[in-house]
């Protein structure tokens, strides 16, 4: 059952709406939902001051779907710590979307600001637009970033994506900014567009598949040969089954992959980067 939130007008000062989660909505009437707390600056406000609330609420988290409409760029922390249910956002949305998410599904038709999916440990996020910096990253001083879940971005992603990533899966259709997968220690990433500079710096474990062009890699990564690699097909097939639109052209099973391992500045150097040799012969030497 769906609860529809329509933003009345863009707030002049950003609001923190970490109360917009299916868990907080489940078992409440629309009137009770309207009284949930959101913060605007130092003021504690009610959700109904900012949103028109219609639709029908559900008793359980699993049955709860929240649809949010409007220019939400000044609304932060939607779905923070979300544990089950669905959120659909029609438009662009502000920082910390789905941060520390445990389970459930978030879809966004527009773009998201920084720290989307930060430190998430489960669930699924699908973003049709672009994502800002620190997508699925760890917060400052935190040893672990993303710990699980699946994230699909149809647009481009900013800098330091997947910082400290430990587990989980990220697929990006567009380009990825600088220093992606810094200090990564597990999980897998597919980048269909161009991979930015300094990828995987200080990474110790994990896998990154670069389907597009890679202009440079850190000097502390070593070339580990080019060949057909059967298992890459597993990841490509998985992506194709979930989001066929992410792959511009078919990647043949006989595709040659250049493998790089690192980061050799670290004591443990088990990070693997796979790039398509046909696009990146300049790296393999």
């Amino acid at each position: 059952m769906t609860v529809l939130l329509s933003l009345k007008q863009v707030p002049n000062i950003p609001i923190e709406a970490d109360s917009i989660t299916p868990t907080a909505f489940a078992g409440k009437t629309l009137a009770q939902i309207g009284k949930l707390v959101v913060m605007q600056g130092r003021n504690s406000c009610e959700l109904r001051e900012f949103f028109e609330i219609t639709g029908e609420s559900a008793d359980s988290v699993e049955e709860t779907e929240i649809v949010i409409r409007g220019d939400l760029r000044k609304v932060k922390q939607i779905g923070k710590g979300m544990n089950g249910g669905r959120i659909r956002i029609e438009g662009d949305v502000g920082m910390h979307l789905g941060a520390e998410m445990i389970a459930g599904r978030i879809t966004v038709t527009g773009s998201v600001d920084a720290y989307a999916g930060a430190e998430m440990s489960g669930g699924n996020i699908q973003i049709e637009g672009n994502a800002g910096d620190y997508l699925c990253a760890g917060y400052r001083g935190s040893p672990d970033g993303m710990k699980g879940g699946r994230v699909f971005i149809a647009g481009n992603v900013g800098n330091e994506m997947a910082l400290h990533m430990r587990k989980g899966f990220i697929a990006v259709k567009g380009n990825v900014g600088a220093m992606a997968a810094t200090r990564m220690k597990g999980g897998s990433i597919i980048v269909c567009g161009e991979l930015g500079p300094r990828a995987c710096i200080e990474a110790t474990k994990g896998m990154l598949f670069a389907l597009g062009k890679v202009s440079s890699l850190p000097p502390t990564f070593k070339y580990s040969g080019s060949s057909e690699r059967e298992f890459t097909g597993y990841y490509i097939r998985y992506l194709k089954s979930r989001r066929p639109d992410f792959l511009q052209s078919d990647i043949s099973p006989s595709e040659k992959w250049a493998k790089f391992i690192g980061d050799f500045a670290e004591a443990e150097s088990k990070m693997e980067i796979y790039t398509r040799l046909v696009l990146n012969s300049h790296l393999a030497s």
């Binding site: 002049n12 000062i13 605007q40 600056g41 130092r42 200090r183 000097p219 502390t220 050799f264 500045a265």
Partner: protein
């Protein structure tokens, strides 16, 4: 501490993070006449302390009494939803403490100038910890000192002559027993003062540091050259660093504000940590404003975080990039700015300044600056370390007592007292 007539010995200079504490100040009546031992900047700071002074509180450009200015400031703060305090690096520790109290009381955000200088240093330290040294330790023990992306000849004029090219307990001849290196993208004035200058290509600091780390581990890499330095030279640099008895790496904004920022610092810290498996190394940021290091310390003591702290929910939260002044202003978040001991209008990016022009600004500063042109309320303050006492923290974390050498202009009070007056009135209004 000897004070003979109008001569003050061992005065701490309050310009840069060196906090040189051997300055001799002579005064005559209300004037400072002489500064001995200070660098050119220090001389100007003390002797020219009355230049360009703001002496009168103003509201919307018209002169008012201090009480009226405070009253207006309190009105503005009380009616705000998202209050921002910025600055604090050129004032003393007690004023900083009052600023945190004000932020907590008003449920606002407090940020210091760290967010535009050595913020990345702190983020790096939060990732990897710190391996630090003191300046005295450096002078007594270091047989190798490396400056990376810093130009002390211009920004910290006495850093090399006062702390580094000085004999110490174990370094008898600082010219012979101590090597000073400079790593930078261009040959600065400092390059002429050091024993070895290593030029690297711009925006390759991170690559060079990571390569050094790999070489120190003894790994053979595929590359033949990194950042314009051949791998052979890098191997030699790594060996020298590994075989030093005691090394210290000083780094400046060339490392913290170039491509990579906190990643550069994180890597530099880990380089030093790696080196400590073989010998003793420390690293230290070349802090700019005299008490920006103190701003981080006091903030961490009081709130648990070094900068970019939000009190909106009644407890401190930390998020650089979100609660940092530049980002907040560029995103159009705050509805009031209280600026103290800094000049955001002169230093912030255009988008941030453009927004600043739309909101009321309260400016507390001893001198006229670009922010005072824009501020609705201007409150003059006494200069800490000259006209009032206090404490400040040197770049290595050592707190030093600042002396008062001369009376402030009439009616002008220290930053901490201005903030206390604001807090006192605000407490009544917010009840």
């Amino acid at each position: 501490m000897t004070e003979a007539g109008n001569t003050f010995k061992d005065v701490v200079c309050t310009f840069c993070g060196c906090l040189c504490d051997d300055i001799i100040i002579e005064t005559e009546g209300e004037k400072i006449t002489k500064n001995t031992n200070g660098c050119a900047i220090s001389k100007e700071r003390f002797v020219g302390h009355m230049e360009n002074r703001c002496l009168q509180p103003t509201v919307k450009g018209s002169a008012v009494t201090l009480e009226k200015a405070i009253e207006r400031a309190v009105e503005i703060i009380a009616s705000s939803k998202r209050f921002l305090i910025y600055g604090l690096s050129s004032t003393e520790n007690d004023a900083q403490r009052e600023a945190y109290r004000l932020a907590e009381l008003a449920g606002g955000v407090v940020d210091n100038t760290t967010s535009v200088c050595h913020g990345p240093t702190i983020l790096g330290a939060q990732e990897s910890g710190e391996t630090t040294a003191s300046l005295a330790e450096t002078r007594h023990r270091a047989d190798i000192v490396i400056y990376w992306g810093a130009n002390p000849a211009a920004a910290h004029p006495r850093h090399i002559p006062h702390y580094i090219r000085q004999p110490g307990e174990y370094i008898k001849d600082p010219k012979k027993d101590r090597q000073i290196w400079l790593i930078d993208v261009r040959e600065t004035t400092t390059a002429r003062m050091v024993d070895r200058f290593i030029k690297i290509n711009p925006a390759t600091d991170l690559e060079v540091i990571e390569t050094l780390r790999a070489l120190i581990r003894g790994t053979k890499l595929d590359v033949v050259e990194v950042g314009g330095i051949s791998i052979k030279d890098l191997e030699q640099i790594a060996t020298t660093m590994k075989t030093a008895k005691y090394g210290v790496l000083f780094f400046g904004l060339g490392l913290t504000q170039s491509f990579g920022r906190h990643r550069n610092i994180d890597a530099a810290i880990r380089l030093i940590q790696d080196l400590n498996a073989y010998t003793k190394w420390g690293l230290m940021p070349m802090r700019g404003h005299y008490n920006v290091s103190g701003a981080n310390k006091t903030s961490t003591w009081v709130t648990g975080y070094p900068y970019a702290i939000d009190f909106a929910r009644g407890y401190p939260r930390f998020s650089p990039g979100e609660y940092t002044a530049v980002d907040m202003l560029a995103r159009g978040e705050p509805d009031v700015l209280l600026n103290i001991a800094a000049d955001p209008v002169a230093h912030f990016p255009r988008a941030a300044v453009a927004y600043l022009a739309k909101i009321p600004v309260i400016n507390i500063d001893p001198k006229f600056n670009m922010t005072s042109q824009l501020a609705e309320v201007n409150i003059p303050a006494a200069i800490a370390g000259i006209e009032c006492d206090g404490a400040a923290t040197r770049m290595d974390g050592l707190p030093l007592y600042l002396k008062k050498v001369i009376e402030p202009p009439e009616g002008v009070i220290p930053d901490r007292d201005i903030l206390r007056m604001i807090i006192k009135s605000l407490e009544k209004v917010m009840k």
